[in-house]
Amino acid sequence: MTTNKNCNPKNFYEENKGKKIFVIFCLLVSLLVTAAVSVSLGAASPGFIEAVQVVLSKIFPFLGFDPGSKITQLIILEIRLPRVLLAIIAGAGLAASGATMQGVLRNPLVSSYILGISAAAGFGAALAIVLGIGFIAGVGWYLVIVNAYVFSWLAMVMVYGIARLRGITPETVILAGVAIGYLFSAALSLIQYVAPEYEAVRAVVFWLMGGLNRATWESIIILFPIVILTIFLMVLQAWNINVVSMGEDVATSLGVTPKRVLTITMVLETLATASIISFTGVIGFVCLISPHIARMLIGSDHRFLIPCSSLVGACLLLCSDTVGRLVLQPTEIPVGIVTSLLGVPFFLYILVSRRRRIWG
């Protein structure tokens, strides 16, 4: 019925789609393998098989896997596993946000922090720490988390409000985001400068570096549904994001309202990013680089790109954290540092080894 020439574009397209799904499947498998390896590695390591058995015995108690000793259970289930899960959730959420925002704002340099969220979260956390509440064990850290979260949303609302004055466009959002980011950075520096106690400044710097060492089951239970829901909603917007990435006039002529798509994705992005970095501190690089790696693997169709990017982000953050945990034992390197140290060479390798032009 259609073209019966030497090639039928539809068949090519279907084949292409199959490849994309295969890539996503491979990423999923490698993520699971990495997670299993990561759970078993570290100080007082019980060994790969044993570690996996402990986890499986907890998930499928009826299958008769060896649950291991009490101490092994404690290490695996209460320390390693939450941390591995947090790495996966945080990486996936940040990377999906990055892919979404790069698409909607039509800019490959955008990370999900473009709305000034990281600076605002940092300021919020610093405020809580320096004002002293951070030192009261227990309740203190919750206040830091809540404060970082509240200030992230404040930044988003400010950016949205400013951009609205000139009509919400990618340019106004990016410029307003950069400006608000600088504002909160300055406020953050001011707090660190005037903070009376050295310990408080140290705690702030440590928070800003970002880390997964504060992972608890509570943080997983809070973050997991939020991140899954936002990724799902982002994927639902995927076709609209494709269209908006072609330009506003084109999107309008195709029946899509660019402002609405931008507003929805900004809210989703803030929801995911603010929640994650409130728990982990600032982990910036994952959300910038994962979408690029994913785009090199499967192209720009956001229906596939967003899931693919989140899997890449999860793998990247998990690998980085595992390496950061292991190389300088018993000290740890903050995951933010390792992500860049590992991710940049990897990214450059893909960038240079690819023939096809990736951007514009």
Binding site: K5, N16, W239, M246, V250, S253, G255, G299, G360
Partner: protein, 272 residues
């Protein structure tokens, strides 16, 4: 479909761009909009397609006010080909043409959408390029892909903003022949903003000449492309002859300096 425009005006903040445009276009007609840079050609196209919102009820399709349609309904009626298209991220030709099906799909294309995209690609001779990346194509090929995207919308009215401006003469001819064919075989009404007066003369049923946001002349090419009109609107001396196709042919001679123009009767005053 019949397109009627009643007294359309538009301004960016305080400066008026379009003033009192009236127009009627029949099924299967090709209308070209000509005029100097900044005369409002692109703005008029964007107003018709509601990319820019005008005050009041001015644009009617088969007597129906387009402001009463939602964006999705409108996008099934009108297709738009912008002046320049860039894709920041790599998309294949097939992906881009599939975006033209957006008004008809929610999240994923149906079997029918695939058929229509494949047919459209075939119609424009783009099937072999389907899996190529858009950014790797030549300007002429890119323009055809963008036209294919607009056609995949299955519009009754097609708006094109200088579709041939950056193309070589073969691609120009090909694209204008495709448009003419669309108008005749699919009864698509076509409005195209153009700079090339001779191409416009040859391919359009009707021409609209804009000067500073006002209609200066409208009607058949013979009526619009006169030496007086061209002098008044473009500020050049030109000779208008008849081409071998029987259409007016414009041979530009020389620009008139702005001093001479200011001495001309006030009706023809232009170029501040």
């Amino acid at each position: 479909m019949k397109l009627t425009i009643n007294h359309l005006s538009f301004s960016y903040s305080s400066s008026p761009i379009l003033k009192g445009i009236d127009l009627a276009l029949d099924l299967g007609e090709v209308l070209s909009i000509v005029g100097p840079n900044g005369s409002g050609k692109s703005t008029l196209l964007k107003c018709i397609n509601r990319i820019l919102k005008t005050k009041g009820n001015t644009v009617f399709v088969d007597g129906k006010d387009i402001n009463k349609l939602n964006l999705k309904e409108l996008s099934k009626i009108m297709g738009y080909v912008p002046q320049s298209s860039v894709s920041v991220f790599p998309f294949t030709v097939f992906d881009i043409v599939m975006m033209g099906r957006t008004p008809y799909i929610h999240w994923s294309p149906s079997e029918q959408d695939y058929e229509i995209v494949a047919e459209t690609l075939d119609f424009l001779g783009l099937s072999d390029l389907a899996m190529r990346h858009f950014n790797e194509l030549s300007g002429g090929e890119q323009q055809k892909v963008i036209i294919a995207r607009a056609l995949a919308q299955q519009p009754k009215i097609l708006l094109l903003d200088e579709p041939t401006s950056n193309l070589d003469i073969k691609h120009q001819l090909e694209i204008l022949c495709i448009l003419k064919d669309l108008a005749q075989s699919k009864h698509c009404s076509i409005i195209v903003a153009m700079h090339d007066l001779n191409m416009a003369s040859r391919f359009s049923d009707k021409m609209l000449m804009l000067k500073k946001g006002c209609i200066f002349a409208v009607g058949a090419p013979e009526k619009v492309l006169t030496e007086e009109n061209i002098e008044a609107v473009y500020g050049i001396k030109a000779k208008v002859t008849k081409s071998i196709m029987g259409k007016p042919q414009v041979v530009p001679l020389e620009p008139i300096s702005s001093k001479e123009v200011s001495e001309a009767p006030s009706k023809f005053a232009l170029l501040t």
